[in-house]
């Protein structure tokens, strides 16, 4: 082992150091910032109050996503007044500060973490931030991408930098081949089940191994998206040919000789042989079965073949209480088979699973079948371009024929900041990222799973092992 060997994270970090402070913190250059309507207004307000300007408006991209209606009549739909104020404020701020803004009715509009990669705004080797914890998604490209608070949004706006301390290197290796019906979402949930929601705290997780390399860019984005649910602000995957093929030809990606020059650089980014990680976790692809959450934290996850766990089996007092609280909230009984749990709603979408591959997976499962009578099922494409692509492939017809509601792009029911939400005690098979209490609507009950698993549940009306459908 050589001491000079560097990890992907080490290289991303070192190539962005503007200044090393005496206290060890570094001033880190930020290549790109994405903004949306919820976490940016206060940053613009303070910027104005201090008489400051944007350091690089051209390095920013703005898209409204959290608050937008996803109904077909979205152009004229009456939005809640406070939502509309946030949307109008974003538009006005972008106009005033000359930030590239994709309006709601533009075909490219969608969830920020889906739009960035689609537009080629996200590139390998970059530092990318956004006032949204799922910014980790962009790590799929071998970019150092992480969520920040509004004060940091403002700091980047004003200076194009952040003061940061270097995090530790963690490697999560998934080698081998995953079985049929097992997706990137199942890999992500299995990892969180193993290390817990604080397992990656203080670390950047690099995902390695053949099961990761074999994922498409869509799958890699799903996995990196969920790294924050494992506590890691960033999850990264080394760029390779799959990455370059995805990036090539995107509206904002480099073209021609510049692309070749960029690829040559991007090829230097993967972790050097012999580089050391502070923490390493190993999983086998073959061991991962479709996953589903039973509680109110993403770490409350089990194989679909499992049963609802019993708090009496836990010795730690606080954990026992937390587990009982989760079961009470979810309306589940210890010992109950997960596959017997009946559902009311299905939500396919979000920055975790709102991409074309996800919609194809749902269509594959429900083709020629019907959504169960007791279930209301939605597919919310992650962007207008995903929606168009799906419609070109005829997927919307398959979904509509099966009884799905085919909606307009946005964050929708992932966080219920818009009209899309669960009613109290409604139970949802959801492809989103968080099953926290109240996340999808007050007293709503969320079971996280892959798009294929959500589709299977839509058809049967209960949590279902998609491999057996």
């Amino acid at each position: 082992m050589t001491t000079n060997a560097k990890t992907l994270y080490d290289k991303l970090w070192q190539s962005h150091i503007v200044d090393v402070q005496e206290d060890g913190n570094c001033l880190i250059y930020i290549d790109r910032q994405i903004i949306h309507e919820v976490t940016s207004p206060q940053a613009f307000e303070s910027l104005r109050a201090a008489g400051r300007t944007l350091a690089h408006p051209e390095a920013m991209l703005a898209v409204p996503d959290h608050n937008v209606p996803t109904s077909a009549d979205r152009a004229t739909a009456i939005n809640a007044e406070d939502s509309q104020i946030q949307l109008d404020t974003l538009e006005r701020n972008c106009k005033d500060f000359k930030v590239d803004y994709i309006p709601m009715m533009d075909a490219r509009q969608g969830i920020v973490h889906i739009v960035g990669p689609e537009q080629g705004f996200t590139l390998p080797g970059m530092t990318i931030v956004c006032g949204d914890s799922h910014t980790s998604t962009h790590g799929a490209f071998g970019a150092l991408a992480f969520g920040i608070g509004t004060s940091e949004v403002e700091h980047v706006m004003a200076t194009q930098t952040l003061v940061l301390h270097k995090l530790k290197n963690m490697r999560v290796d998934v080698d081998g081949e995953v079985g049929k019906g097992v997706t990137a979402k199942d890999i992500a949930l299995a990892i969180i089940g193993k290390i817990g929601t604080a397992g990656g705290t203080g670390h950047v997780i690099e995902f390695t191994g053949s099961a990761i390399r074999n994922l498409s860019m869509e799958g890699r984005m799903t996995l990196c998206n969920m790294s924050i649910e494992a506590g890691a602000r960033s999850g990264i995957i080394a760029p390779d040919q799959t990455t370059f093929d995805y990036v090539m030809g995107r509206p904002q990606s480099p073209k021609g000789a510049a692309f070749e020059q960029a690829v040559a650089y991007w090829k230097t980014l993967p972790t050097d042989q012999g580089a050391l990680y502070d923490k390493e976790i190993f999983l086998r692809g073959e061991d991962i079965v479709p996953q589903v959450t039973w509680g109110t934290s993403p770490e409350n996850v089990l194989p679909i073949t499992g049963i609802v766990p019993n708090p009496d089996d836990v010795t730690d007092k606080d954990r026992k209480i937390a587990m009982q609280r989760a079961l009470d909230y979810m309306g589940l009984t210890a010992g109950q088979k997960l596959q017997d749990v009946k559902i009311d709603r299905v939500f396919v979408g979000s920055c975790t699973n709102g991409r074309i591959e996800d919609i194809r997976a749902v269509a594959d499962v429900v083709r020629g079948k019907k959504v169960h009578d007791n279930v209301t099922a939605w597919v919310v494409p992650g962007s207008g371009l995903v929606k168009l692509q799906a419609e070109e492939e005829g997927l919307d017809k398959i979904l509509r024929d099966a009884g799905f509601d085919w909606r307009e792009p946005g964050c929708s029911m992932c966080l219920a900041m818009n009209a899309d939400k669960l009613e109290p005690f409604e139970r949802c098979a959801s492809t989103s990222n968080r099953n926290f209490e109240g996340r999808q609507g007050q007293k709503g009950r969320t079971h996280l799973m892959s798009p294929a698993m959500a589709a299977a549940a839509a058809v049967t009306g209960h949590l279902t092992d998609v491999r057996e459908l």
Binding site: I85, T201, Q261, R439
Partner: protein, 204 residues
């Protein structure tokens, strides 16, 4: 930003693990374009009944803790979203210091930007402080940032670790954007170099 130097206050025990940002400030309150006024909505799902009345079993609703300025919580406090509305809501509610065995990274950083001090301590120490805090208004806890020390009501002292830069900014109530802008020339030099080595990154 408000300074944080020394605080003597009532500490409320909330020894729950994984208190997430959705619990601290639910999504329906994020539709504001201001930083203030969120205190009334802090912890709303566990603080209020459906009809808006207060739940008696929520610690900060109990008479002994209504004036608490320190919260002692379980591990992984602030996990979930990056919403700075979480520290804004806690601050607006009147809390100035959160003590827990561990914090989620984004939330932890956000606290410092708002004059809210997050302190990490080992679970054994937390257990002792929880014990102190269970005595309500009879147990004032003092947090001294300068000396990185917490004193319990019985005179016991524990020290805590904190990043020196963050400590400096908190003690002096500094605006770190102002500090960074002092390095404008270094940033310009870095950009100039980067334009040469990675020209595809620059659009202007």
């Amino acid at each position: 930003m408000d300074k944080f130097t020394r605080l003597s206050a009532i500490a409320a025990p909330l020894p729950m693990a994984n208190i997430d940002t959705d619990m601290i400030i639910p999504q329906q309150y994020l539709k504001t374009i201001k930083r203030t006024g969120l205190g009334v909505s802090a912890f709303s799902n566990i603080r209020y009944h459906d009809d808006g009345s207060e739940r008696e079993d929520f610690i900060l609703n109990k008479p002994a803790y209504r004036k608490a300025e320190i919260l002692i919580a379980g591990e992984n406090f602030g996990c979930g979203s990056s919403r700075e509305h979480a520290p804004w809501a806690l601050k607006d509610f009147g809390l100035k210091c959160i003590i827990a065995p561990s914090f989620a990274d984004i939330f932890y950083g956000n606290c410092f930007k708002n004059g809210l001090l997050p302190i990490k301590l080992p679970q054994e120490t937390i257990d002792l402080l929880l014990d102190d805090a269970s005595r309500g208004a009879n147990a004032i806890i003092t947090v001294d940032l300068e000396n990185q020390e917490i004193s319990g009501p019985d005179g016991g002292k524990v020290s805590f670790e904190i990043d020196p830069y963050r400590k400096h900014c908190l003690l002096n109530g500094l605006d770190d954007i102002g500090l960074t802008l002092e390095k404008k020339d270094k940033i310009k030099d870095f950009e100039a170099q980067k334009r040469l080595s990675q020209p595809w990154l620059f659009k202007d």
